[in-house]
Structures are given as C-alpha cells and as structure tokens.
Symmetry: C2
Subunit: 319 residues, 2 copies
C-alpha cells in the first residue's frame, strides 16, 4: 500500500505527541477500527503515557451529563489544563455506528486547541469499552492531556464499566432520583468517588443529596478509605463546578498517597490485556482461516449432537 490510506505510525505518533489534533484523531480512529496498526501504535506510545488523570463521568439520561462535562472542561481550562474528552456513545453492533446526539452542546470547546473532544462508539467489540477506551486514553495522554474525561451515556452496565476505566469516577444524579431502589438498581452507589446532584436549583435537590449521603454512609468502609462527597451543581450556570473540580483533585491526591492509583491502573490494564488476548483468540477460532472450527461445533451443539461444554473443550483442544 504505502499511499495516502496507510499512515506511517512513527510519524503519526510524533505528531500526536506534539498535540496535532488531526494526528490524535487519526490514532483514535485506528482504535475504533481495531486496526492491526494498533500494536505498533501502543508500542510507540508506551513510554509516553501514565501522566494524565482519567476522570469518568456518568449518570442516567437526562441528568445533564454533556452540560456538566462542558462546565467541568471549562473549569479545567481556566486552571490551564489540557483536556481530552472521550464521549462514549451507545452504538448498535448491528449498524456498527455511533449516533450523533447531544455532542452538539460540546461546541463551546470545539475550537479550543487545548481540548480534544471525541465521540466513540463501542461497536460491539468483545469487551467494548474495556478494550477500546484505555487505548484512546493512552493516545490523549501521550498527546499531553493533563486530564482525560471519559463520559458515558449512563445506561445499563456502562456506568459500571466506566468505573473500571477511570482513576476518579464522578456520578451525576438529578433531584428526585435518590430513592433507594432506583439508585441501587443503577448500581451507582458502588462506583462513585464523587457524587454530584446536578440541577440543584430544582425541588428535591437537598433531599436527594441527604438520601444519597445516608445511603453512602451505610457502606462498610475501612479506615483510611475514601469517603465519596456529595456535591451540588447547576451545570448550566457553572454553579458548584469549581467545588467539584477541587474534590476531583483531592481524590487524585488520595489515590496517589494511598496506593489506590496503582491498584486501579493495574486492574484496568488487567482487563485490557485480557480483552486483547480474548479478541485474538476469537479471531483465531472464528475468523476466516481460523484454526478452530467454531461454526461446525456450533452446528453440532444446535443439532443436539454435542453439549456446549464438550464443544468448548474441543475448541480449546484445537488451539
């Protein structure tokens, strides 16, 4: 090849490290496409990463995630920080594409050279976010971002996933969302490092904050553990945003001091390595020219000729 379509990885990486937005965008596209070049990219990025703080932002639909992200990014920019934003969109594994939604509102920072903003779809990869997000984070980290914000549209398991991907997880809730079963259902009580009741000018904000605090206080936390604060914001006016950023900084300091940062990053790397290894195996089993005959085995399972465990044994024995 070697034409326009085949980027030279060393050149792309060098340009991305200088903060060239086009090179950064191109590298993240390689991540999204699960490009075979990623192996070379990640090898080249290795010694240039680990500096950025990864801030996960999640919460249920309608809570004001984009507005909050926008306001938090503005606050970080005022503090002179370079910021990367990865907005993880839901995507259909059938259509393969991420839909545009409320990204439009991020327009405030669209022309700011020190803010990279990127919408990413999970695209039905095995491991989804676990696979692609850490690699996109590495790209932004190597590009000199002080903070990488990972914003997920909070549906289903994605809140839980983002907690595993971030150094600090910020959970947004709206007034009236505090009632026990709902909060527990969403699994939000276990994942947040900082909780924010947004739209705090609305009725019920104080009650929601109180209830959240009560629920959080019931958790069994060992001595020295981080106790998640519950703050209030009106993201649309910027009210409370600086306080949130101060708590994020305080959490970042705690992470470093307590050794939890290394623990979280190791756990994240574990999932990432595992996802890469599993994807390689899947390809081997099922891809064209793959050694394993997964389709043949599946047909025999469907026909009742073999049970799924015996089929899995056969698959693994073929390796």
């Amino acid at each position: 090849m070697g034409g326009r379509g085949a980027p030279a990885v060393p050149d792309l990486v060098a340009r991305a490290r200088q903060g060239d937005p086009a090179a950064v965008a191109r590298l993240i596209t390689l991540v999204e496409d699960a490009s075979p070049l990623l192996r070379e990219v990640m090898s080249a990025l290795r010694e240039h990463v680990g500096r950025a703080h990864v801030l996960g932002i999640t919460g249920p639909p309608g809570v004001g995630k984009s507005t909050s992200t926008n306001a938090l990014v503005a606050g970080m920019r005022r503090a002179g920080r370079r910021v990367g934003v990865l907005a993880i969109d839901p995507s259909s594994p059938f259509s393969g594409g991420a839909l545009l939604g409320d990204r439009v509102r991020m327009g405030d920072h669209a022309l700011d050279r020190d803010v990279f903003i990127r919408s990413m779809g999970a695209r039905g990869h095995l491991g989804g976010l676990a696979w692609s997000t850490p690699q996109a984070v590495r790209v932004l980290d190597a590009a000199g971002c002080d903070v990488v914000v990972v914003e997920t549209v909070g549906v289903g398991q994605s809140e839980v996933e983002v907690a595993g991907l971030a150094d600090t997880t910020l959970v947004l809730v709206a007034p009236g969302m505090g009632d026990g079963i709902q909060a527990a259902k969403a699994g939000i009580l276990e994942i947040g490092d900082v909780y924010v009741v947004n739209k705090a000018d609305r009725d019920g904000a104080d009650r929601t904050r109180r209830e959240l605090r009560t629920m959080l206080s019931m958790a069994d936390r060992p001595e020295g553990a981080w106790r998640p604060p519950v703050l209030r914001t009106v993201a649309s006016t910027g009210t409370g945003i600086d306080e949130v950023l101060a708590e994020v900084d305080r959490h970042a300091a705690w992470l470093a001091e307590s050794g939890e940062l290394a623990r979280r990053r190791t756990a994240r790397a574990r999932r990432e390595v595992e996802a890469i290894a599993l994807a390689a195996l899947r390809e081997r089993w099922g891809g064209a020219g793959g050694r394993g005959d997964l389709d043949g085995l599946a047909g025999r399972v469907a026909a009742g000729d073999v049970d799924p465990y015996a089929a899995a044994d056969e698959l693994l024995a073929q390796d």
Copy 2:
C-alpha cells in the same frame, strides 16, 4: 462432601424432566452460580432439548414489559401450553445480586404448576446473558416447556443481546416512543420479529404504530424474508394479546420453513460455546493456581514496562 449441599445431577435432571419445580429451580441456580456441576448437567440434558420455542420480550423501561409478559403467558396457558419465564434483571457485578423489582406482578401465575418463573441476574459473567441464558433455557426446555419466554429489562445492550438468544424477539414500544432517533438509538429496529405498541389506548398509539411501520419498511429485506408486523395491545386488559400470540406462532412456522431457525440456533450455540471457552481461559489466566500470570503482566503494563499487546502475546504464549 456428598451431604445435603451436593445434589446428585442424574437425580436432579430426572426430576426436572418430570417437571418438578424444585429441581428446575435448583438447576437454574447451578447455572446462575456457574457451578462446576453444569458440565455434567448440560451433558445429561443434551438429548432432551431443542423442542421449546424461545420468545424474547424486550423494550424500554415503563413500556409494560411485565404486564405484557403476564398477559402473554396467560394466553399461552389458555392454549394449553407449558411456559417457562426467565426474567433477566440488571445486576451489579459489585454486589453480585439481582434486585427484586416488578416481578411481584407475575404473581398471577406463581401457583400455576405449568408455568415456571425465574428471575435471573447476569452477575457480571463474561458474556453475561450469552453464557447463562441458553443454559437456563435448556433446563426449562428439558422440563417440558413448550415456550420459554426470556424477558429483559431493556437497557443498553440487553435488547440486542436478547435478540441473539431468542427464536422470536418481541419488541414492546409505548405511544410517543416512535420518533426516529430514539428508536434507532435503542437499536430496536434491527432486532424485532414482532413489534407491539402497548398502552394502545393512549394518545399517539396510532401515530407510533404508523411511524414504526414506515421505519421498518425502509429496511432492505430480501425476497421471502420475514416482515415484522406492528400490533397494538393494552396488556393490562388483555386487548390484542391473542393477535400477538398468533403472530408469534406465524413467525415460529416461518422460522422452521425458511431454515432460519437452524441458523439462529447455530448462531446462539456459537456464542455460547465461545463464552464457555473464554470463561475457561479467563480462569486459567487469572484464577488461583492459574498458569498465566495475568496480574503480573497487568502490573507491568500499568507501570509502562510493556504495552498491552505485547502483554497479551505473553499471556497467550503461556498457554
């Protein structure tokens, strides 16, 4: 061991095949717990499965899924069919438990010997539904169910997942939910075999039905392909339920005639075998006494000593 805690698989399977609810429940618990006994259970069930029709029911929260499931089960019971219901609840991988929610409403059938109802959590297994649901379906199938209903709380990717698990997927929508981007976002247009506008006595039901039909008609379907009907129900009163069941039967007949049933079941078995194989590998890599040193590799990735692809290579080479 051999005490009360260790069930004899052949005995359990024999009792389940006779429709003993306690034995059925026990076997599904083994599935939920990812018990090592499952290997023996699935081997014993192998020649007794493949008869039940698997009906997936999904749709966004608030659409009336439980009420609809209840009404559909009542209709199937009137037709003399034995029915199993698997209600897949969201569950936190942190707490490990499924939360009780609107299951209470299924109480109508709780004492009916020819209806098995079971709430299942996905519990953060690798592959989640892909792993556990087909095995639970096999248990209910072997227990003599003519139909196994798999109801998912429709959040995020679960609608998409249920489509892969079912022979027939029924998608519920509520009036006013028809607007394009929302339907597309939820990915519902690609997954349904039968669409039902529930709460059809409300304003906007006809418009939603029309819009859904228009959107569905834009899909490029080959000659002889199934064209998903869009029906209306008021599940709370039972209105329209028999028509839905007739369409489900029509779809079942089409599946068998067209060869699509075998294709779907093979695809399902493929995902299941793959998930079992991957789970075995994960255990090998990371479990106590596992051969692979995933934790050590992850620590080196987090420290920047090795990139994740090289780490994955090392992991696979250890196998």
